[in-house]
Amino acid sequence: MRRKELFFWLTLTCGIVIVAYILLPLVELMTSSSIPALWESIHDKEVVRSIRLSVFSAGSAALISFLFGTPLAYLLARQDFRGKRLLEGIIDLPIVIPHPVVGIAILGISGKNHWIGRLLFDLGIRIMGSVTGIIVALTFVGIPFYIHSAKAGFMAVSPRLEKVSRSLGASMTGTFLRITFPLAWRSMLIGIIMCSARAISEFGAVVVIAYHPMTAPVLIYERFEAYGLKYSQPVAVWLVIVSLFLFLFLRILTTREAREK
């Protein structure tokens, strides 16, 4: 057998170190809680409520991203216009801004000192300490992931297919529904999952906007602060399970997409 070069051993070692670095804490976490402790925590109303709130608000953020992000993603995939790069940069901003800053920024415009805040107040919409506020924060941090993925999906659909569809008599909407959507839906779904996964793990922005009602990450933090590591671990395990479920779904979808291509 040919002797492996030093470079091979170097890459192998680095790889093992990184995999261990990611897996060890997670395996430790997943095995830290006994089954009874997990059983008990899933019957804890507070825990269930927080996980349900996390899933609901992350799902809502993904839905909002889907509704508002899809037309924008399509525009970015199809049109070249002045200021496009700037617009793409703006969409990416939530990824680079520190999360507590996101929370503070949102509160800045939703307070009574700002006209938007006053308008929301008049409409009876409250941001601070509300589920609405949580969804606003999660949409803010999650939407770039949806737009990126949907845009890539639209770009992979040749504009010629749409042109041919139009020439055959289909309207713009008909073309989107019969050609573009069936060919790009998987990327859109991947975007929705990425957006939800990002949203469900958000802590910094949420804790600033709404400590209560508690999302799962905030509850984990609170239990850790108040009662210590042992008490926060079972809740963390459940959150990891929910996230892993999303992750698994994403992997199945992306591998199938790669195979089809």
């Binding site: 070249d80 040749s158 020439s167 289909a170 309207s171 069936p182």
Partner: protein
């Protein structure tokens, strides 16, 4: 049938200027020109797939300039087929039926007719990914024609097809044109395709129409140096015209017909020059002594370059002629030019 008036289109790195085209009803018209000349842009403008910056487009008497693509009755077939990958052949072909209010029974009849004509009946349940290039193009043609468009635009429909199948598709296109009422407008850069399919054509160079006319005239009677070079008129010489003859350097070439006073050039297609190997010049006009300077294979034909006086002349001959006439560098021959093949501009 199709008429464009002063069509102007500005794209990021390209512009189309004052394009005036006129295609007759049920005609087969080709647009030719070098890559990047704007041929596809014209097609997409007629189909309403790109924005026009100025000018008007008519189909029949109806102005369609501002109309959305789906209302124009213009079909388009691209060189890469652009079949919908998620629909099977049947789904692709029948895609447009519902937008034209065509009843199911009528649609079925048309589907049968077209698939029969194009020989794709056995493919109806296949997905495009499992079709060959030729099959894909037949499906694309059927899909465009099933809705009976007024005009069918073909964007280099044969260029992405294996050479062996090109002939078949070319024949299919010809049959479709003859059996339907549709006007065909095709973009191509293949002269053989243009000559075998089209009635008339236009040559586009750098975003402008350089010449329009009967297809034979485009190749044999180019109106400018640029068109002459594009259509492969390899022998173009500056000439002085006097008393029914052209003086090219020291040669005197007899002309068959009077020359327009403004003409300055004489042009002859390489295949219109005949090489002879007689020992003495035959008693006929336009026969000149020449020396072979090079013989180069070009696929199935050979290009023979000769020195005739101070002129460099190019001819195309068959392999057989190379052997029979013993054409090799340095050989002395006679070349003769038929007066009917001489073009001036």
């Amino acid at each position: 049938m199709i008429r464009t008036e002063e069509l102007n289109i500005r794209l990021l790195d390209f512009s189309l200027r004052n394009v005036n085209l006129s295609v007759q009803e049920n005609e087969f018209f080709v647009l030719m020109g070098p890559t990047g000349a704007g041929k596809t842009v014209i097609l997409e403008a007629i189909a309403g797939l790109i924005q026009v910056d100025g000018g008007r487009i008519f189909i029949g008497e109806r102005e369609i300039t501002g109309q959305p693509s789906e209302k124009r009755g213009v079909g388009i077939v691209y060189q890469d087929h652009a079949l919908f990958p998620h629909l099977d052949v049947m789904g692709n072909i029948t895609y447009g039926l519902r937008y034209h209010g065509i009843e199911e029974k009528k649609g079925q009849t048309r589907l049968n007719e077209l698939t029969q004509l194009l020989g794709i009946r056995h493919l109806l349940t296949r997905l495009p990914i499992h079709l060959s290039g030729g099959e894909k193009q037949r499906v694309a043609l059927a899909r465009a024609l099933i809705v009976r468009p007024h005009v069918l635009l073909l964007d280099e429909p044969l260029s992405a097809i294996d050479p062996g199948f090109r002939e078949e598709i070319r024949a299919a296109i010809k049959t479709l044109h003859q059996t339907t009422q549709t006007t065909f407008l095709m973009v191509t850069h293949d002269f053989g395709e243009a000559l075998s399919l089209a009635d008339r054509g236009a040559i586009i160079q750098q975003g402008e129409i350089a010449q329009t006319g009967a297809i034979q005239d485009l190749f044999h009677r180019p109106a400018s140096m640029a068109v002459a070079e594009f259509v492969g008129m390899k022998n173009i010489f500056e000439a002085r015209f006097e008393n029914g003859a052209a003086h090219v350097g020291s040669l005197r070439v007899e002309l068959g017909s009077p020359v327009n006073p403004g003409h300055r050039y004489l042009a002859i297609r390489p295949e219109d020059i005949t090489i002879r190997r007689n020992s003495s010049p035959p008693e006929r006009s336009n026969c000149f002594h020449a020396v072979v300077t090079s013989v180069a294979g070009q696929g199935f034909a050979y290009e023979v370059q000769l020195k005739c006086g101070e002129l460099a002349v190019k001819t195309m001959v068959s392999k057989r002629a190379i052997v029979d006439l013993e054409l090799r560098e340095g050989a002395t021959v006679f070349i003769s030019i038929d007066t009917a093949a001489i073009h001036t501009f």
